[in-house]
Amino acid sequence: MSQLETVTLEHLPPSHKIYLCLFKDVQNPDFLLTQLRSRNADFEYAFIDSTSLISRLHLLAAVFRAVNGLLGDNLRTPNVHSEIVLSMSASNNIAEAYQKFGITSGTKHVTIVKVVFPTDSVPVPPNADDVWAHLSENVEGTPLPLTDDNIAGDTDWAKMHKVYKMNGGPAARLDKMSLDDKVRRKEKETLALGGMALRGT
């Protein structure tokens, strides 16, 4: 059964469809990486290493920014999928964004985003079934819906603190406070969103 989710984000046109899925215990990250590096057009996805995800909203904020850039014809990278990876980052360095948020050969859990929209050359973009058929055939892993609970255990906090400059103050302050884990995660998510919004400025 398809585990691919179709997401509608607030304030984005219905012509642009966003598909999401999480694959746990992926066995073939090297294969995916090769497709990505060879710029195989069939593998136009944003592959995000789930250790770099704080929450579902964290990812959605990056997707929104990338699609907003696409709509405004203001992309800093070749396409909307690479733009999603860059939009996760707090810095403008594209290679660094791929290292920190993209997949590596050591990646275990992968979050996948696909954005489709009609273009002049492809007026009818692939639908959810097409996308799912391709993913399930090529990603060897356990597909799961992208929920906060499904990624909660995977977050690499040391990495998140570093990339969003929470070290030396904010992270320590939040970790010291007697907060519910969910509240703490939410506040760190908020700081990450701020860092992403101010990327490279």
Binding site: L57, K165, L198
Partner: protein, 279 residues
């Protein structure tokens, strides 16, 4: 909006008028606000430079304050874009910095500095201005100067302003309209006694950093306090006397360098906020 005093017909007419002409139609929206959302943008504030809409962001259950600085036709387009960009980014930087330091301000959700919008956390509750006026009118004729609820509020406000200054932020437009009183996380329904008794309960959050700057000069901080003091004097004269004693004691409690600033405040009071006597 129809007021309580208006007659039924007038109110009906106004309502019809609003339906025919949604309030947003008179102002062009940025393209991003013309796409579907579960809570379509609703204009909540309009300033000289920008407009604030209440809407949702990313997902239906996330409310946001969406600030848009439209292009100004009277400015040269290149200058206009540069100014808008700088101001959106300056405001966002201040908000992010405050949030990192634990100062209660709206979180930044996203922005587009080229188009001129900033999406922020929607702060629940009401401005201190409204709450305080409701509370004061419920106690008309009473001597409120030693009222503990009012004292607590003044201390809370001073404490938050001290936090801002401590982290190198000067707000630039501190008024009781830019201080929100939001329901405290600790407030339970069981604590509710009478309506007016709990009016001043809650946590302070500072909003509208459109004129804020990252400044550490004594003068800027003193002027920030002076502007707030004048705001209290003009909007809530009955609470003014508590400014010196209680608000400033809250300020001192959160900001170590307060004494220097308070000394300068004395000078600012003598001459007004413009030191240079220009502009």
């Amino acid at each position: 909006m129809a007021t309580a005093e208006s007659t039924g017909t007038e109110a009906d007419e106004q309502r019809q008028h609003q339906q025919q002409q949604p309030q947003t139609s008179s102002y062009p929206l940025p393209a991003i606000l013309t796409y579907p959302a579960s809570a379509p943008p609703h204009l909540v504030a309009q300033g000289a430079e920008g407009r604030v809409y209440k809407t949702t962001y990313l997902v239906p259950d996330l409310q946001c304050a969406f600030k848009y600085r439209p292009p100004k036709p009277y400015r040269h387009p290149i200058l206009d874009q540069r100014l808008t960009r700088q101001r959106i980014l300056a405001e966002a930087r201040v908000l992010v910095k405050c949030r990192q330091e634990g100062v209660p301000v709206p979180a930044v959700y996203g922005l587009d500095e080229n188009v001129g919008w900033l999406a922020m956390e929607w702060i629940e509750g009401e401005p201190v201005r409204a709450k305080l006026n409701q509370w004061l009118s419920s106690r008309a004729g009473e001597d409120v100067e030693s009222n503990q609820k009012l004292i607590d509020l003044m201390v809370k406000v001073g404490d938050v302003v001290g936090l801002l200054h401590k982290h190198g932020i000067v707000h630039g437009d501190l008024t009781t309209s830019n201080l929100m009183l939001r329901p405290s996380s600790k407030m339970g329904a069981s604590e509710v006694k009478s309506d007016t008794d709990t009016l001043l309960d809650g946590d302070i959050a500072v909003i509208d950093f459109g004129l804020a700057s990252q400044a550490t000069q004594v003068e800027d901080r003193a002027v920030d306090l002076y502007v707030l003091e004048r705001a209290f004097a003009s909007t809530h004269p009955r609470a003014e006397s508590l400014f010196d004693q209680w608000l400033l004691s809250g300020y001192k409690s959160s900001f170590k360098q307060a004494p220097v600033v308070l000394k300068r405040l004395e000078e600012v009071r003598m001459r007004g906020r413009k030191r240079s006597m220009l502009g």
